[in-house]
C-alpha cells in the first residue's frame, strides 16, 4: 500500500492505494468523484480524460501512485466557485453536444485544455482537437459546434484581448 497526495479540484487529498490502482479508479472509488467515467480502460475512448497539471490525460492509463504530488482537475472542478457553469459546459448545453452524457466529462476536460491553448480554433483545429475522444451518441457535429461556441463565450467573457484592442 502506498500513501499518495493529490490535489484534486483545488483540494488536497491523501489516499492510501495499492500500487496497481488506476488513477481512474482512485478518483472514482477512493475519492468518490464519479464524474470521471471509464468506457474502455485501454486508453481509446477518452471518457476518463482529466487534466493533470492542466494537461488532458487518460486516467485509465495512469496508476494513482504515478500521479502522487500532481494537480488534477476533473469534470467536478470545471464549474466556477459558485457552481456557475464554465463557458465550455454552457456551450455543450446550448449546442446539444451531449446525449447520454457518458463521454461528456472527457470531452469537457479535453476542450477546456484545447481552448486554453488555442482560444480561437479553426474548424480543422476544433475537429482535430476532439478527435481523440469517442462518442457513440451525438455524431460529433454538435460537439464541434460547442467548441466554437465555447470559444465565443470565453471571448465574450474575457473581453477583447490587447492585440485586438490595438487593431
Amino acid at each position: 500500500m502506498n500513501e499518495i497526495t493529490l490535489t484534486v479540484n483545488g483540494s488536497v487529498a491523501r489516499v492510501v492505494v495499492p500500487a496497481r490502482r488506476l488513477l481512474s479508479d482512485c478518483l472514482r472509488h477512493d475519492l468518490g468523484l464519479t464524474g470521471t467515467h471509464v468506457g474502455c480502460e485501454h486508453g481509446v475512448c477518452g471518457c476518463c480524460t482529466v487534466l493533470l497539471d492542466g494537461d488532458p490525460i487518460r486516467s485509465c492509463l495512469m496508476l494513482a501512485v504515478t500521479a502522487d504530488g500532481h494537480e488534477i482537475t476533473t469534470v467536478e472542478g470545471l464549474a466556477g466557485p459558485g457552481g456557475e457553469l464554465s463557458p465550455v459546459q454552457r456551450a455543450f448545453h446550448e449546442s446539444h453536444a451531449l446525449q447520454c452524457g457518458f463521454c461528456t466529462p472527457g470531452f469537457l476536460c479535453t476542450v477546456t485544455a484545447l481552448l486554453r491553448d488555442n482560444p480561437a480554433p479553426t474548424e480543422a483545429e476544433a475537429l482535430e482537437g476532439v478527435s481523440g475522444n469517442l462518442c457513440r451518441c451525438t455524431g460529433y457535429q454538435n460537439i464541434v459546434k460547442a467548441v466554437h461556441r465555447a470559444a465565443e463565450l470565453t471571448a465574450e467573457e474575457t473581453g477583447p484581448d490587447d492585440d485586438e484592442a490595438v487593431r
Binding site: 464519479t34 481509446v44 448545453h93 446550448e94 481523440g132 455524431g139
Partner: protein, 800 residues
C-alpha cells in the same frame, strides 16, 4: 397563452447535472458494495469437464464463487425466450452460468464475489476450468451445412424458418421483361454504448425487499423477471434504471444473466453486490447484430417498376435466441421501404453459430433490409440506363394511397399498414439539397483535377412506436410542482425535456415546475421499454393523455371553487382562470389542495382544504372522485406509425490509396410533428454516425475458431469526429393520424439507410458493383484489383 413549447428547440433539462459530473450511472452507485466478476469461456464451443477452485479460494478478500450447480432450480434454469414466435421452432437460451457446454467465447462459467473488483478478477484468474473443445460453428453458411451443431438438438443449426409472400413473386419475376439476381453481404456490428451493462443490488433483510439498479432499457420487465426467478413477491422488488450511458438496443435484452445472478447473490450473502461490465466483456458477452447473407431476385419493366421481388436471407443469430426472431422479421418487412412492388416473397432462415448472440441494435434489421432494396433499385437503374432517382420515383407509394397495406405481418404481429407519408416530396427535397441534377458537372470538374467522386442515395420507411402500450402519470402537488413519470427508460434521448414540453403545453404550466422520472418502477411499474423508436410516440402520447385527465380534473375542481363553468376556464402559467376575466382565478397548487379533502393541516396551504375551512355541501360526501390532482393514462396504438426518410451522399475515393471520404451527407427526414427539433437532429446525427461506422469501419472479426479478434476499441473501429461528415438535415412533417400528438419515432432513423447510401455513392464513383458492407479502403483496393482481373462486376454505366 403559456409560451409555446411543443415543437421548440429548447436546450435539454438533463444537461446541467450531466455537465458537472452529477450523473448517476450504474458504476457510480453503491460505493461500499461487494464486486462481482465472471470467469468467461475462452472457447467458442466446449464441454466443461471440471472446475478447480483450490487456488482461487486462498485469495484474501474472496467472498463467494458460484458455478451453475450452486444455483437453485429456478435461478439455474435457461433464461427466458422473450419473444416466442411460431416460426422459431428451435429457440434456445443460455443458462445464467454455463451448464456443461459453452457455446461462445465470453459465455459466463463462474461468478466470483469479492471485496473489490481487483480481488474478484484475481480470483477469476485462479479458477481453472477444464474445457474439452468441441467443433466451433462460425458463419451462417458453414452453420447451415449442419456438419457440426451448436445445439445438439437443433438439426442443421436452423432456429427458425419463415416465409411471407404477397402475390406470386416467382411467377411475376419469370414473366417480367427484365430480371436480375445477385447476392449481398452485411457484416456484424454492435450497439457498443460507451457505458457497458451493469447491475447493483441491495437487499433489506428486515422487510425482505430488494432494490436493483441496472443499466437497462426495460426496468419494469427486469423487475418481473427477477421477482419470478427469485420467487419474490412482485411488490417487494423495485428496479431502477439510473442514468444510462447509451443503449442502442443491446440493453433491451433482459434479464441478462447478471441481472439474475447479482440480486440472487446479494440476497444470499445479505450484502450489497455490484457488477460493472468491462469493455472486453461487452464485446464478447453482450450482443451483436446486422450479419446477413441475402439473395435477391427481381423482375421489372422498362420503366424500372418492380413486378416481383424475392429475398432470401440467411440470418446469423449467434449462439442463443433470447429476443426471438425480431431482427430478421423486421428485415423481411421493412425491406419494402417506400415502395409498392408487385409481388413479394421473403424467406429467411435464422441460424445458430458459436458466436455472441444477435439481438436488435439501432435500426434492428432495417439497415439490412434497406441495403437489399436500395441496392436492387440501383441495379435496376444501372440495367435500364435510368437515373437512380427515377427508378425509385416509379415505385413510390403515392400520398393519396395512405393508409397503404403492404399485406405482410409486422414485428408487432399486426398488419404492415403505413399510416402516412409523402415520398415524392421527400425525394424532390433531397435532390434539390444535394444538387442531384447537376452532379455530372461536378463529377467532370473533379475528374479534371484527377479526383474521383460519386453520388448515392437511399430511402427507407421505419415502423416506429410499436405497441402494446406505455403509460404516464402526472401529479400536481400543493407546492405547484408537476411530477411526471413513465415506465420506459432513457439512455440519452432527452425524455426529461420532451415529456416536460408536452406536459407544459397540455397543462398550461411553466416547464420549470415540471420534473420527469423514467425507468423507475417505484414511480411507474407498467411499461414495455425503450426500443423501436417508440418512447416519444408511446410515452409522449400516454403522458399527454394523462395530462389531459389532470387538466379536466383541475378545471372541474376550479370551476366549483370559482363558481364558473369548466368550459369557460383556461390554465395559463399554472393559474386556472375564467377566460376574459383575469380576476376570477385560482392557482393550480390551490386546486391541488382542494382536490384532496383533509382533516389535518400540515401547512398553511393545506389548511384551505380542511373540514372547517372548506365545508362543502352537507348532503354530499366530501370526496367525490379520487383524491389528489393527478392522472394516469395509457396509450395503446392499433398499430405502428411509419416514419420515413431519404439520405444522399457525395463521396470521394482516392484513385491510388482507395481511401473513402464522405464529402457531403444530406438527410431528409419525416417523423411527423417534431416535439423538439434540437433533439430530433441530435438523434439523426448520432444515427448517421453509427451508420457511417457500419458502412465503412465496423465489423466483428471472428476467426474460424470463433475467436473475436478485435474485441477492443483499439481494433474495432468506431468512428471518431474526423470520420463523420457534417450532416445537413431537412424535415418534412407529415403528421401521424394514429396518435393524439401526430408524432412518429425518430430514434433509429439516422442509421437505417447509411450503408445503402454509401454503397450507392462508392459504386457511382468507382463504376464497380458494391455488394458487401462495410467497405474499407483495403476492400475497395482489392475490388479494383479483382475488377482489373475481370473478376468483379462493373456497372453497365462504367462498362458501357
Amino acid at each position: 397563452m403559456t409560451t409555446k413549447l411543443f415543437g421548440e428547440p429548447i436546450p435539454r433539462r438533463e444537461d446541467p447535472r450531466l455537465l458537472v459530473g452529477g450523473g448517476r450511472y450504474l458504476d457510480d452507485l453503491g460505493p461500499g458494495a461487494l464486486a462481482a466478476a465472471f470467469v468467461r469461456s475462452p472457447h467458442a464451443h466446449a464441454r466443461i469437464a471440471g472446475v478447480d477452485v483450490s487456488d482461487a479460494v486462498e485469495v484474501d478478500g474472496l467472498v463467494a464463487i458460484y458455478l451453475w450447480e450452486d444455483l437453485p432450480d429456478r435461478v439455474g434454469e435457461p433464461l427466458p425466450l422473450l419473444i416466442p414466435h411460431p416460426a422459431l421452432t428451435h429457440g434456445r437460451t443460455a443458462h445464467p452460468l454455463a451448464r456443461d457446454v459453452v457455446r461462445h467465447v465470453g459465455e459466463p462459467v463462474a461468478m466470483v464475489v469479492a471485496v473489490d473488483r481487483y480481488t474478484a478478477e484475481d480470483v477469476c484468474a485462479l479458477i481453472r476450468v477444464d474445457y474439452e473443445p468441441l467443433p466451433p460453428v462460425v458463419g451462417p453458411e458453414n452453420a447451415v451445412q449442419g456438419s457440426a451443431l451448436v445445439h445438439a438438438d437443433v438439426p442443421g443449426n436452423v432456429g427458425a424458418h419463415l416465409v411471407q409472400e404477397v402475390g406470386n413473386a416467382r411467377e411475376a419475376i419469370e414473366e417480367a421483361e427484365h430480371t436480375l439476381a445477385f447476392r449481398l453481404d452485411v457484416e456484424r456490428s454492435a450497439s457498443m454504448p460507451l457505458e457497458g451493462r451493469g447491475v447493483y443490488a441491495r437487499w433489506d433483510s428486515g422487510d425482505s425487499s430488494l432494490r436493483v439498479y441496472t443499466s437497462t432499457q426495460a426496468s419494469t420487465s427486469v423487475r418481473m423477471a427477477i421477482a419470478a426467478t427469485l420467487e419474490l413477491p412482485l411488490p417487494s422488488v423495485e428496479v431502477v434504471a439510473p442514468d444510462v450511458g447509451g443503449g442502442f438496443g443491446v440493453k433491451i435484452v433482459h434479464p441478462w444473466p447478471e441481472e439474475i445472478l447479482v440480486p440472487w447473490a446479494c440476497i444470499r450473502l445479505g450484502r450489497e453486490v455490484k457488477w460493472t461490465e468491462d469493455r472486453r466483456e461487452h464485446f464478447i458477452s453482450s450482443a451483436h447484430e446486422r450479419a446477413q447473407v441475402q439473395y435477391v431476385r427481381v423482375g421489372f419493366d422498362s420503366a424500372g417498376r418492380v413486378l416481383g421481388l424475392e429475398l432470401n436471407i440467411l440470418h446469423d443469430h449467434g449462439a442463443y435466441t433470447p429476443y426471438g426472431i425480431i431482427v430478421p422479421i423486421i428485415t423481411s418487412t421493412q425491406a419494402l421501404g417506400p415502395y409498392k412492388i408487385g409481388a413479394y416473397r421473403v424467406e429467411f432462415q435464422s441460424i445458430y453459430t458459436n458466436t455472441v448472440q444477435v439481438t436488435p441494435y439501432r435500426g434492428a434489421g432495417r439497415p439490412q433490409g434497406v441495403f437489399a432494396m436500395e441496392r436492387t433499385m440501383d441495379r435496376i437503374a444501372d440495367h435500364l440506363g435510368l437515373d437512380r432517382t427515377e427508378v425509385r420515383a416509379a415505385n413510390f407509394i403515392q400520398p393519396s394511397e395512405f393508409p397503404y397495406d403492404q399485406g405482410l405481418t409486422f414485428q408487432d404481429g399486426r398488419p404492415l399498414i403505413y399510416d402516412s407519408g409523402d415520398y415524392p416530396a421527400s425525394l424532390e427535397l433531397l435532390k434539390s439539397l444535394i444538387d442531384w441534377d447537376s452532379f455530372e458537372e461536378r463529377r467532370a470538374e473533379a475528374a479534371a483535377e484527377g479526383r474521383r467522386i460519386g453520388i448515392g442515395l437511399g430511402c427507407y420507411v421505419e415502423g416506429t412506436g410499436v405497441g402494446p402500450y406505455e403509460g404516464g402519470h402526472v401529479q400536481v402537488t400543493s407546492d405547484g410542482r408537476v411530477h411526471v413519470s413513465t415506465g420506459l427508460t432513457s439512455q440519452g434521448q432527452g425524455h426529461e425535456t420532451v415529456f416536460a414540453q408536452i406536459v407544459a403545453e397540455e397543462l398550461g404550466v411553466d416547464i420549470s415546475d415540471i420534473s420527469v422520472v423514467t425507468g423507475d418502477t417505484r414511480r411507474f411499474p407498467y411499461a414495455v421499454g425503450t426500443f423501436a423508436s417508440r418512447a416519444a410516440v408511446m410515452s409522449g402520447n400516454a403522458i399527454a393523455l394523462a395530462t389531459r385527465k389532470v387538466r379536466d380534473k383541475a378545471l372541474r375542481v376550479a370551476a366549483e371553487a370559482l363558481e364558473a363553468d369548466p368550459g369557460d376556464l383556461e390554465i395559463v402559467s399554472g393559474i386556472v382562470r375564467v377566460r376574459g376575466n383575469p380576476t376570477a382565478a385560482i392557482p393550480l397548487k390551490t386546486v391541488a389542495v382542494l382536490s384532496n379533502p383533509l382533516r389535518y393541516a400540515f401547512d398553511a396551504e393545506a389548511a384551505r382544504a380542511t373540514q372547517f375551512a372548506a365545508p362543502g355541501s352537507p348532503d354530499e360526501p366530501p370526496l367525490k372522485e379520487e383524491p389528489g390532482l393527478e392522472g394516469r393514462d395509457y396509450y395503446s396504438p392499433i398499430r405502428s406509425t411509419f416514419a420515413s426518410g431519404m439520405h444522399a451522399a457525395v463521396v470521394e475515393t482516392d484513385p491510388v490509396t482507395a481511401e473513402i471520404h464522405i464529402l457531403r451527407y444530406v438527410v431528409v427526414h419525416d417523423c411527423g410533428k417534431l416535439i423538439n427539433p434540437l433533439i430530433v437532429e441530435g438523434q439523426i446525427h448520432g444515427g448517421v454516425a453509427q451508420g457511417v461506422g457500419g458502412a465503412l469501419y465496423e465489423r466483428m472479426a471472428y476467426d474460424e475458431h470463433g475467436q473475436l479478434l478485435n474485441a477492443s476499441f483499439m481494433d474495432f473501429l468506431m468512428p471518431y469526429a474526423t470520420e463523420i461528415p457534417r450532416i445537413e438535415t431537412a424535415h418534412l412533417e407529415t403528421p401521424s393520424p394514429l396518435n393524439p400528438l401526430g408524432i412518429k419515432g425518430a430514434g433509429e432513423a439516422g442509421v437505417i439507410p447509411v450503408s445503402a447510401v454509401v454503397a450507392s455513392a462508392i459504386e457511382d464513383a468507382e463504376g464497380l458493383v458494391i455488394s458487401r458492407m462495410p467497405i474499407s479502403p483495403s476492400d475497395l483496393y482489392d475490388l479494383r484489383l479483382a475488377a482489373a482481373r475481370g473478376e468483379a462486376e462493373r456497372t453497365s454505366r462504367s462498362a458501357g
